[in-house]
Symmetry: C3
Subunit: 153 residues, 3 copies
């Protein structure tokens, strides 16, 4: 595999893909944090935690706006970061210029960090919409390169 490991575009893809996937996984911790502090759970077995009174436990089976907000942010990550990883991998294999590839990877990863901050902190629009659109068009730009460099129908 030496040729992949010695290829800077592929190394850059590996680095940025890993960082942005770790960011996506981090949403789970924020969800758990909000579930604990807002006392809002979805599963009966999650409501025990030292309290065995069924009436008290039933009250913990509720939805909470903060939990739902983080979950929507996590879902948006799944809908956007996974396409970036798939198309970015194929893009890296088409042999683009290193500087062009780095631009794509950095803009995408930056846009998703801004998107998360805008979503979780409920910043006024169009901050979140713009971050989303920038990430989307970065992925489209890489897809265009894949389809022009490697089209085989």
């Amino acid at each position: 595999m030496a040729h992949l490991i010695n290829n800077n575009v592929f190394l850059a893809f590996s680095t940025y893909a890993t960082i942005v996937v770790l960011k996506m996984m981090f949403m789970s911790f924020i969800t758990v944090y909000y579930r604990m502090t807002r006392k809002a759970f979805s599963n009966w077995e999650d409501t025990a935690m030292g309290n065995n009174n069924p009436e008290d436990r039933k009250k913990l089976l509720q939805t909470n706006p903060d939990v739902e907000r983080v979950r929507r942010c996590h879902q948006n990550d799944l809908e956007n970061i996974i396409p970036f990883v798939v198309i970015g991998l194929l893009y890296a294999l088409t042999g683009p210029d290193l500087s062009t590839a780095l631009l794509h990877f950095r803009v995408f990863v930056g846009s998703r960090f801004i998107h998360t901050v805008a979503y979780v902190m409920a910043l006024p629009q169009p901050s979140r919409a713009l971050a989303w659109i920038v990430g989307l068009f970065t992925t489209f730009s890489m897809a265009y390169r894949v389809l022009t460099a490697a089209l085989f129908l």
Copy 2:
């Protein structure tokens, strides 16, 4: 990376995977379109849009059946297209016949386009169920090839 780029099965995989991931990303635009036209949003900051009356804005925080339908379709894409991409990539690396590989890729991608039309337009069953099953079994067929060609437990 010349050997991947010169491999027709891998080029075909790149092409069909990119097309079907772009189709999946397109669901976001349909969701935004329905949210705008049906005036149904999930986040308070999304309801401003030139209107600062809190009472009017609160009414926009609603669920809408058309929005929910598109979101279920998008979710079904995540649950089926991502497994195709993962297993399809590994399948392409096992060196299958080009014609067999093309058959798998084309049937899968076709089935997902039909699935989306059947879901968004609410066509009578079993149209959507059949499209889903065909995509599923295409992925299973590729997984069978991966596990028989590359099993290492």
Copy 3:
């Protein structure tokens, strides 16, 4: 592609990634099974099934706790198994020891099977939480290796 196919770490990754993705896809069948037996559907066109009385069909458009539980389990798979596949692929390409790689792959896949059983059967906590955490840290360990072996910012 002979060098990938002859590389045991990559073969092991292919095998375990395929198995755990198939497990994830299997959640769809459990969802369908519960929707059928609990008579709980989300789409009007899914409620026909030999019954044309609109009143009877309307009653089938309901949420059911068993269906929702399986869907949450499937969602948790998407949130955890896809990061494993992405980071595991990059990890396999960094050329780790075969025994270390096998340990990561086996622990992750095992933890996700235990997680599914704990979730679907509603086993008392912390069984599900522990299975989730073990899978998470296995992925973090592989990400650490990718970032130290291939960092290129």
